[in-house]
Symmetry: C2
Subunit: 207 residues, 2 copies
């Protein structure tokens, strides 16, 4: 649909919206017309939030998470266990893991994953910064929480080769049947691994 918008301003806004992932020109037009119908302040708030985000957001100097300050609230939180670092691919993974409320250590964002197909090598990631953190000492465990893909496994292997030492426990996320999944619909590789890595059966006391 290549519409004539009769307004350069409308056309510019639709073009910019349609560059977002998953938003085509039709959806972009719908969003822009919605903004036009709103109070002027509402639409401006969106514009300003985007501009402020781009101009003011910082990268945490320690873990590379995004942050409003030099260091992110997770790295400055003294109640967290700074001896356990969970290595993740992106900021998004931190949000997801934090949401589980099961992890009280700190993070390190690799800002990507080794993927020769996409031309991403170890040099494109924040591995030197992680090296620096480990050299400062005090870290007991490195949890490799990357995707269960070929690229994730490659990166895990690279990190293991680089950082393994008798003083550092290196772990990775448990692979297995998802909670709530029926065995019938679990893929063979996952099911196979979950048999190999079977764990002692525990009866949890119900609350």
């Amino acid at each position: 649909m290549d519409l004539n918008y009769h307004s350069k301003l409308l056309e510019a806004a639709v073009s910019e919206f349609s560059r977002l992932p998953g938003i085509g020109r039709k959806t972009a037009l719908r969003l822009v017309l919605h903004l036009l119908k709103q109070e002027k302040g509402d639409a401006e708030a969106l514009g300003n939030a985007i501009i402020r985000l781009c101009n003011e957001v910082k990268q945490c100097a320690v873990c590379m998470n995004i942050s409003d300050n030099e260091t992110c609230p997770i790295c400055t939180d003294s109640s967290r266990d700074h001896s356990i670092i969970c290595v993740v691919e992106s900021i998004r993974d931190i949000l997801v893991i934090e949401n589980t409320r099961q992890f009280k250590g700190v993070y390190h964002v690799l800002s990507g994953i080794i993927s020769p197909m996409d031309g991403i090598g170890p040099g494109d990631l924040t591995i030197p910064a992680l090296d620096e953190r480990l050299k400062q000492g005090g870290v007991k465990e490195l949890i490799l929480a990357l995707s269960a893909t070929l690229e994730g496994d490659t990166t895990n292997f690279y990190l293991y080769r680089k950082f393994h030492s008798p003083d550092l426990i290196m772990t990775t996320l448990a692979r297995g049947v998802s909670v709530g999944d029926e065995l019938e619909y679990t893929d063979e590789i996952t099911l196979g691994r979950s048999i190999l890595n079977r764990i002692p059966f525990e009866v949890k006391s119900e609350k």
Copy 2:
């Protein structure tokens, strides 16, 4: 999903995005993280396009279409037939009709439709401005191009009662079977109307 974003800036941007129609907090987060990955200029361009749109876009003084200037390009186009006014509900309808390239008259945007259920009466629409245009003379035909809904029919009837005169042809869009539709799947009311309003069969010369 009520995430702790660890960044007020990120949270503000996600909140603003999630106020858009059809965009939940998950999608909003995906869009915002996408913007963060882009070059700073790209994301700023979106923010600026939104702010400029809200602050600089005008309503055409004649037809109420949106416009970069006082009068929109359609109303200022002397090659168009200003004696035929097509009455539409919203700006979006103008875009759709223009896209058919079948209409060379001008428009009038009602900015809504009479809908007692939503508390929208004739007084909330741009009917006085349309009255003014008709009183200035020179208009031969008024095409009522509103939705084929109860509200559309109510508005059509209201406009007919208000404006009908021997000097003004009032027409509405043809209702009938959609081009490409199979009869089997056409609803009964549409099919019934298309039989009542049948048109002479024409053999069109193929190019």
